[in-house]
Amino acid sequence: MTALTQIARAPERTTTPGASISLHHLTVTYPNGFTAVRDASFELDPGTICALVGVNGSGKSTIFKSIMGFVQPSSGEVKLCGLPVEDALKKNVVAYVPQSEDVDWNFPVLVETVVMMGRYGHMNFLRMPSRADRYKVDEALERVGMSAYRKRQIGELSGGQKKRIFLARSLAQEGRIILLDEPFTGIDVKTETAIVGLLRELRAAGHLILVSTHNLGSVPEFCDQVVLINRTVLAAGPTAEVFTQGNLERAFGGVLRNFQLGGPALHQDDDARRITVLTDDERPLVFYGDGDSQRSDKSGA
């Protein structure tokens, strides 16, 4: 796994102009009549890592699916790089790693073939890989630390390893926009740290990354923007402004485990400061004081 962050890479593109996502009053109603997202709007620019945060069923995956055009908005619109979704997809600008892969794990393809599928959009219509394509696949596998598994059949991997392969495929795809739906669930802390390092590199190269997560503690560590949702956008903007105790309590209601340590429980003296620990999943979020200054717990849960 150490290989993951240490690989020295030639910087490919310092800026990828125009990688943007904009949701404009998006409303999505499923065929059963349930409106999962109502009137959601936000804008994201290149060179950003944005966290999409909300409770189960708040519509995170629904937003990803509408960005990919898999569900049609009943009103409002999504634009990618200023283009309607269909056109943007044809230009191969978006790489998407779904929450759970809806694939047949018995399919007779090797790990390296799956990663190569990320390159198809860059090849001619016969999909004959060039040397550059092979190189990109090697590199992507190396960056997620899965080179040793390249000749395995895709089903012969653990859950976390499978996730890393699909992440590698999105790296090989070189989409200017990268959508990751809960990439950290079922992933060990070491891999998570490595993936976060990878996302930072991608951001530096000008990619726009939208990532949903329940690990509130790691959000301030690597995300510069946050979108808080609960069936609509509650708050969106820079992490420091949006990711506050007040907003989080609004987004999560009573769902969050909220521990407040203060006064005699913490100190013997009469220090009035408090520590608030908010936790949704593995990584808790810690507020020192009354919630205006924040720092996350780096050590994990």
Binding site: N92, D102, P108, V109, V114, Y120, L126, R169, G175
Partner: protein, 292 residues
């Protein structure tokens, strides 16, 4: 001396024009069907081939009634059936197998009804059992065109179809038009089912579009190789099957499918990685390691 006689006996089928024709037409059809089988059996759509073959009957009956080429009628009902299945599936919560069953029995019943109302118009026997040994030159042309076009299209699109069937959302993210690809695939499947009807008949089409792919699946973990193995199996078994049927004086379809099944059984037991015997041996080795 006796060897010479035996050899010339064995070469007899090659001296008859109709046998030569039967052998190469079967091989062609067997190859294309095997190509498609690689995809069908992976998606759990194996019964789709069977369903299409039965759904085609009313189209064939109608073609006879109107004096149109039989492939045309069959082809359109094939498309109709595939589209019908998609329509019912998208607009209900029924599972795939129920949808396939519903659509194909409806069309098959319609076909039988038409055949009984206009009894002279169609020989149900020919559709159900196929008769490659008596195939007319016109039909040979039809079958050859269908197979050649299908083969060509599949060679161009096999990777796109692989991504579409493996991971549709990824296929869309790289800009593939997955709906169009599926339409192309089912169109080819309908066309090839029509071709296979003539060689092995409606009842055995299912074997042609399942068995070679299933056998190859046991032999490899790479999709490209799977296709090559599958097509090779389809071509060889169909050619040899047609050849043997000369000596057995039996239905060609029966012989071809029997051969395919025999090869499947061999792979089932002896495949190096996924075979029954290899799996047992690995288990034994593992237990030995634990106990010693």
């Amino acid at each position: 001396m006796s060897e010479g006689v035996l050899l010339s006996e064995l070469l007899v089928p090659f001296s008859y024009g109709y046998m030569l024709k039967a052998m190469w037409v079967s091989a062609l059809v067997g190859g294309v069907c095997a190509f498609l089988s690689a995809y069908l059996m992976l998606k759990g759509w194996s019964l789709m081939g069977d369903a299409l073959a039965h759904s085609i009957v009313p189209g064939v009956a109608a073609a006879y009634i109107f004096g149109a080429p039989f492939a045309v009628g069959a082809f359109f009902t094939g498309i109709l059936a595939a589209a019908g299945m998609q329509f019912v599936k998208l607009n209900s919560r029924l599972r795939e197998d129920a949808v396939i069953g519903l659509v194909f029995t409806t069309l098959f019943a319609l076909g039988l009804l038409m055949a009984s109302i206009w009894p002279t118009s169609v020989s149900v026997q020919t559709i159900v059992l196929g008769n490659i040994l008596a195939i007319s030159d016109e039909d040979v042309v039809q079958v050859a065109i269908i197979s050649a076009v299908s083969l060509f299209v599949m060679l161009l699109l096999w990777k796109d179809l692989m991504v579409t069937f493996f991971d549709e959302s990824h296929a869309r993210s790289i800009g593939l038009n997955t709906r169009a690809l599926k339409v192309v695939f089912f169109t080819l499947l309908s066309a090839c089912t029509v071709a296979a009807l003539q060689t092995v008949g409606a009842c055995l089409v299912i074997a042609m579009v399942v068995t070679p792919g299933a056998t190859a699946y046991l032999l490899t973990d790479r999709f490209g190789r799977l296709i090559v193995i599958s097509v090779a199996l389809g071509v060889v078994t169909s050619f040899v099957g047609a050849y043997i049927s000369y000596f057995l004086d039996g239905a060609t379809g029966g012989v071809i499918v029997t051969l395919q099944t025999l090869l499947f059984l061999v792979a089932f037991y002896f495949a190096p990685k996924h075979g029954v015997i290899a799996a047992r041996r690995r288990q034994r080795v593992a237990t030995d390691e634990v106990t010693t």
